[in-house]
Structure formats: structure tokens, C-alpha cells
Amino acid sequence: MALLDIRRRSGYLFLAVIVGHVILISAQVNSRSGVPVLESVTFGLFAQTQRGLSTGVSGLRRVWNRYVWLRGVEGENADLRRQLDEIRVQYQERRALADRATQLEGLLQLRDRTNVQTLAAEVIASSASPDFRTLTIDKGTSAGLKSDMAVIAAAGAVGRVVVPSPGAAKVQLLIDRNAAVGAVIERSRAQGVALGGGDERLRLEYVSEASDVVVGDLVVTSGIDGIYPKGFTIGNVDTVEKSGPAYKRITVKPAVNFSSLETVLVVLTPSAIKQAEQDGKEIKE
């Protein structure tokens, strides 16, 4: 009897917890505007733990690299000095070229589209679940970060800020299965939407069958999503297949190696579309 009682009670508990989950899920599915409070609070608290752990791990790595593993450092220093000398010469040449380009740009009255204000941030943690592709960075709302700010790296677009807390922010990577970015083939200007699939490739969808797309084409951000600035590299076309009468099935290999990211740049300047939206709101008010 006692065994039956325990089982019955655990059954009721199981049912209650399941109903609770269903209510929780339903609430979010019906109103998906903004960041849920639970998500924001839990993330904010856990980010501090992640920061501490990351500091500990980084400290250990630093001690190992700086004080223990010094094999070949002398030779490396000599190589680096030589490289530095070469780079100094190249820098002089590039500066002269840059000056010339700036003068020409001014003459043609071209707008400098890449002049965006950015903030460097360090990656302190990765996804909590293997099903999602996110990163946690060490800058948050106290540094001026907001939701939907684009995150970039030297190689190209990385993702967008989804949950900013005061001291950290969660970044959804382009390869997350919930991620999407407006894209354009640089060579032929064919437009589409690059979608993450949770794996190492992106799918470029809504590209017309008549469009000119070949393997190796560079895919860049189109800027129409209002999040990513125009012209940042997404990756290169990996495969192109026919998919029905209207669209092509295209996969894109991202330019950024998401597993080796240590420092990223958060774009603080709103995109042209977002700026226009904000201006419109201000005029209405």
C-alpha cells in the first residue's frame, strides 16, 4: 500500500510539473515580444559564475603560457621582430594608399558605410546546451549594449546580442538554428536570407532560381534586416542545388571560425534602417 501511495503521489507531482511546463511554454509562444524575465534574471546571475570561471581558466592558461611553456620563445621573438620591421614598411605604404583613397572618396562624395562605432568584448562562455549556438561576452548594458546589436569579428559577422545584462551579454551566433541574417551575393547582388541550422553551415534561402550564384561566391550582409550593417562578410557559397521551380538550395560556409573566437566587436551604431525607424518615432512623438 505504501508503495502504491508513493507512486500515486509521485504521479500527481509529475502531472503538476508537466502542466506547469506546458503553461510556461504556452505563455512564451503566445507573447514572444521582448526578453522573458526568468531568462534575463537567470542569465544575469549565471554570467557572474561564468565570468569567475573564465577568469580562473584564463589565469591558469596565462601562468602556463607565460611562466612554464617557454620553449622556442627566443626564436619566436627574433621572427616577430623581423615581421614587425616588415609590417612597419607595409604600414607606411598602406597609409599612403589610405590617404589617397580618402581623397578620392571625398572627391566622389561617397558615404563611408563601414564607419561604425564598435566596442571590443571578450568571450567568457559558450552555449549551455548543445542544441543552441550562443556565446557570452563580458560587456553588457552598463557598457551601452542593447538587444539586437550586431556582433562582428575580423573575419566577418558573428551574430547579434539577444540577452544583455549589466555585466555580460548573450550573443546568438549566425549558425544558431533560430538565427537569420539578410544576405546578398557580392558578385551578382542576388538577395536572400541566410539561416542558421545548428550545424557548421548556413542555408541561403529565398534566392531566385534565375539568380547568378556559383560555388565560392562571397556572401555579405545586405543590411535589410535592420540589425547587421551592410557589407560585412558572412561566408562563401559552399553548394548550389536546384530546389523546386522558384528557388535555389544554397549552403554557405561561414567566414568566422566560431570555435576559436576570443574577442569580438559589438556594433554600437544602429543600422540605417533602425536609425530611420528611431527618427520616425521621434518625429511622431
Binding site: 508503495l3 561564468q50 549551455a128
Partner: protein, 169 residues
Amino acid sequence: MKTAGIILAIVLALALQTTIARFVVSGTVAVDLVLVVVVYVALSSGSVPGLLTGTVAGLIQDSLSTGVIGIGGLAKTIVGFITGIVGTQLNIAEPVARFVVFFVATVAHQAITIGLGSVLGLRPFGTPYAAIAGEALGNAVVGVAAFQVSEMLPGAVERRRMGRSRLRR
């Protein structure tokens, strides 16, 4: 297993998952350490602790991810509860039996997650059979290793006997 120990195990699993994942090739680990903790607790302590661990751990993991909060919690709750029942009904003292339980629990967890995603009309997951198999294998290896290590610790036999007698009562 005491409540504090379970909470510590969940926090440790989440911390390891988020810290180590970025140092591994491709940016993710083919092991869900949180699910390993849920199944471990369910097998060693029964269906109710398994259920509660699944709920708490799943919700925390969901809130640290980009998906709908509750899907992982629901999946882990069901897996924790059913694994707890299986653990009390079957003899799972052998490593092979434990391996099978961890493997099947991971596959069931993924099936529930993908099923819920489809029902709610979220973005389709595709058919990640290889990824699911890899994760199930990884979880099973880590889970069995965790049991082996815990049984090498002092007082393990007494603890197991006490746990079994508590479950029977």
C-alpha cells in the same frame, strides 16, 4: 544523494558545459552534462528526485539558451521521471545496463525536444540523426564513467544499499 549535492552537480555540469565547450573543436560538446546529471540522479535516487532534478536543471539550461523556456525542462522532467521508474524496476548495476539507459534517455530527450519543436511550429530541426547518436554515445560514456568513479569512493556500497532500501519503502 542529498539536495545540496544535486544542486552542486547541476551547477557544476552547467559551468563545465559552458566553459569547456568553447575550447573544443566546432564550438560545442557532443555531451549534455546536465542530462547526464538528471539521469544519474534518477537512477541513484528514484523517480521523484529525477523528476525534480530534470525540472530545475532543464529550466536553468533553457534560460541560458536561445530557445523557448520550458521545452528542455519538460523533456528533462519526463526523462528524469521515467528513468527513475526504470531504475527501481530493473537491475541497472552493470555498466552495460547503465550505458543502455543513458543512451536511450538521450535519444528520448532529443525525440521529445524535436517533437515539441514541431508541435509548436518552431524552426524545424532537420534530421540530425548523426548528432543525436553522437550525443547519446557521449552521454552514455560520461554517465557510466561517473557511476564507476562514484563507486570507487569510500562508503559507496553502504550508500547504494541505503538508497535501494529507501526506494523499496
